[in-house]
């Protein structure tokens, strides 16, 4: 088992002919993801050449891509100016999951796009996220397939490379993963910590969860309350940004301490108050997890 994606996931790549889209499509296909279609307006009826002489049909629009191939998931690599539009298109075309990789999408565009997706019961992951991977089954997004391994740990994170860091340590220590999810570093994201925790709690193969947060917002705090109230599985946490100054955006659009709220101290305190062991160094995650699973 895994959450959100597995070996049945049929993916359409929005922006498949772009630089990032084409590169990561090949990476996904090489990993074994079932990429069934690509969309680039104006390039319909061409084919995308994947690895191992596999080809993927390209469509002008999501509507056709979904109806012709039965895709149930899309991944968005289109530039920021068009990304919200691509999400709206995917939501209308009827996929179940939209993974929005694009960074720099205007926040008010996303407010509308999230509302549109909610209206239709479609899950959006991101934007500004690395996507997700269910080791051995499927990867959708840009997470490096070679650092993961199958196993019982669920990983959810607002960050990209920090997640790789943590996952690589888990894999090296023999702790494989059910699914690793990057929820994205933007202020308005479609899938938050709680959604992922719910899914991990319900996933019978997940034994424990690593939750990697950062400064900005209150998503971690709400997730912590959820962990205490609802979760039976152990959760180990990490929060990046203890040294971040207030009021400055630390790379991610969402990583900013506004006024006195959203500090790392606050998040760490709330984690601990709700029974989540907090790793002070990334290197401590493995140890805490082994302790929790022992």
């Amino acid at each position: 088992m895994a959450i959100f994606i597995d070996s049945d996931t049929k993916v359409v790549v929005q922006g498949i002919t772009g630089r990032d889209g084409s590169f990561h499509t090949r990476e996904m296909m090489a990993y074994g993801t079932r990429v069934v279609a690509g969309v680039t307006p104006g390039k319909g009826s061409q084919n995308f050449e994947g690895p191992n002489e596999c080809t993927v049909p390209i469509f002008n629009g999501m509507d056709e891509a979904v109806s012709e191939t039965g895709a149930n998931t899309s991944v968005v690599y289109v530039p920021p100016a068009f990304a919200a539009g691509a999400i709206l298109e995917a939501a209308e075309a009827g996929v179940e999951l939209i993974v929005a990789i694009t960074e720099g999408v205007p926040v008010l565009d996303m407010a509308r796009a999230h509302a549109f997706a909610r209206d239709r019961g479609v899950r959006v992951l991101g934007p500004n996220c690395p996507g997700l991977i269910s080791p051995g089954k499927s990867k959708v997004g840009i997470l490096p397939g070679q650092i993961v391994a199958e196993g019982p740990i669920g990983v959810v994170s607002r960050s990209g490379t920090l997640t790789y860091e943590a996952v690589f340590q888990l894999t090296t220590a023999g702790l494989g993963q059910t699914t690793c999810v990057g929820i994205g570093g933007d202020p308005l994201i479609g899938t938050n910590f709680i959604s992922c925790l719910e899914a991990f709690e319900e996933d019978p193969e997940t034994a424990a969860v690593v939750m990697i947060g950062e400064i900005g917002g209150t998503d971690e705090q709400e997730a912590a309350a959820y962990v205490k109230e609802t979760m039976s599985k152990p959760v180990v946490g990490f929060i990046a940004g203890r040294t971040a100054p207030p009021g400055r955006r630390m790379g991610h659009a969402g990583a900013i301490i506004s006024g006195s709220s959203g500090t790392a101290e606050e998040k760490i305190r709330v984690f601990e108050e709700n029974g989540i062991s907090v790793a002070i160094r990334p290197a401590d995650i493995v140890g805490l997890l082994q302790g929790a699973l022992a």
Binding site: P80, V107, I142, S157, T161, L162, D219, G251, S260
Partner: protein
């Protein structure tokens, strides 16, 4: 991106909000002339991207033109919370009956633009929300419908009772929403919104932050950026497409990924050091970006050591190692450099780096400890 008060006033005024006249000046003489023109008492307000201007002495009431000149000369060049004052706004002082607060920002939980209003103005609204939550009214605007007339009225009616004030304030609230959306803002604030003895409602302060992701499609807003109000290194980083925030420490950090960059800073602190900066070079192994990053880090004279922390994911570590080596060739770095590279092909990468005489390892803790130690020695 923060914009100055005088710029936010322009946006507000264009949306129809009643904002008193004002002139931005850079010399005491100009301030004197402006004060003369307005006549009567004027307010001199430092234009810096920082709150707490009043407490810092950056806002003064001048009773005549001579005083306006004197205060302006005191305020110009002041340092307010790290920001040097290079411009002041001169604006006629208003007769104030009451002060209220009206603000709108993107609320993460509601996933929507959200208004907060309070009949107490000129205050720290966060503080008010915490200490007397009943004295604020909050409303999220459904992005599918925008601001509805009754919603603006409902907010305005929390501030005032007299129908004439309520109707003026409703209009201002709607206009503030228009200015917010029309500027691609992440925050817009009138603090205080005043009423005058004559029964007029006016915005005598204006604050706005722009969503950086909106700038590509709003050239009129993008040109409001005041690079003089930020460290030169940050301007250069932005131009080079790097996320960079200058800090006060001495360990220069060069990391791929924002989360890992923060975690690296935290670990520097954990091992007793002080990070000199946040810097995310992004996901590529392009030597140009590394060159730009090194130039920016080394332009900070506090920096005593340069710490690379790179996780090679999709990008292979050997490519990154080659990129770093090529970058260093192009720039004369005298500071010690320590490098951590891990992920795909890391062994190959470490060999490449050591062959080039660079200090390299695969553990994040190890490289950070080494950097802190080198900074202490230097």
């Amino acid at each position: 991106m923060d914009i100055h008060e005088y710029q936010a006033r322009e946006r507000f005024r264009a949306a129809g909000i009643p904002v008193p006249p004002g002139r931005v000046v850079t010399t005491p003489k100009e301030a004197e002339l402006a004060a003369e023109e307005y006549g009567g008492t004027v307010v001199i307000k430092a234009q810096v991207h920082s709150g707490g201007r009043g407490k810092a002495g950056g806002v003064r009431l001048a009773e005549d033109a001579a005083e306006a000149r004197r205060y302006t000369s005191q305020i110009l060049g002041m340092d307010i919370n790290g920001f040097p004052v290079e411009k002041v706004l001169v604006t006629p002082a208003e007769d104030i009956d009451t002060e209220a607060y009206v603000g709108v920002l993107v609320d993460r939980k509601a996933q929507a633009a959200t208004f907060v209003v309070s009949a107490e103005g000129g205050v720290d609204i966060e503080e008010v929300a915490r200490t007397s939550p009943n004295s604020i009214r909050k409303l999220s605007i459904d992005p599918r419908y925008g601001m509805l007339p009754h919603q603006a009225y409902w907010l305005a009616n929390f501030l005032y009772d007299p129908p004439k004030l309520v109707s003026q304030a409703s209009k201002i609230i709607t206009q503030l929403y228009d200015a917010f959306v029309g500027s691609g803002a992440s925050m817009a604030e009138i603090n205080p919104l005043i009423t005058t003895p004559a029964g007029e409602v006016k915005a005598i302060d204006a604050k706005m932050s722009i969503d950086d992701s909106e700038l590509f499609r709003r050239p009129d807003v993008a040109k409001m950026r005041d690079t003089s109000s930020e460290p030169l290194s940050e301007t250069r980083a932005r131009e080079a497409g790097l996320s960079y925030v200058k800090l006060d420490g001495d360990v220069g950090c060069c990391v791929n990924g924002a989360g890992l960059a923060m975690a690296t800073m935290d670990l520097v602190k954990h091992y007793g050091g002080e990070p000199a900066n946040f810097l995310d070079i992004g996901g590529s192994s392009n030597p140009d970006k590394v060159v730009a990053a090194l130039e920016i880090i080394t332009s900070d004279s506090n920096v005593k050591v340069i710490l690379f922390n790179i996780f090679g994911g999709i990008t292979r570590c050997d490519d990154v190692a080659n990129g770093i080596i090529e970058a260093i060739k192009h720039i004369d770095v005298e500071l010690p450099i320590v490098i951590r590279l891990t992920g795909t092909n890391e062994d190959l990468a470490l060999q490449i780096l050591e062959d080039a005489g660079l200090s390299a390892c695969t553990s994040m803790d190890e490289v950070v400890e080494k950097a802190v130690e080198l900074a202490g020695v230097a």
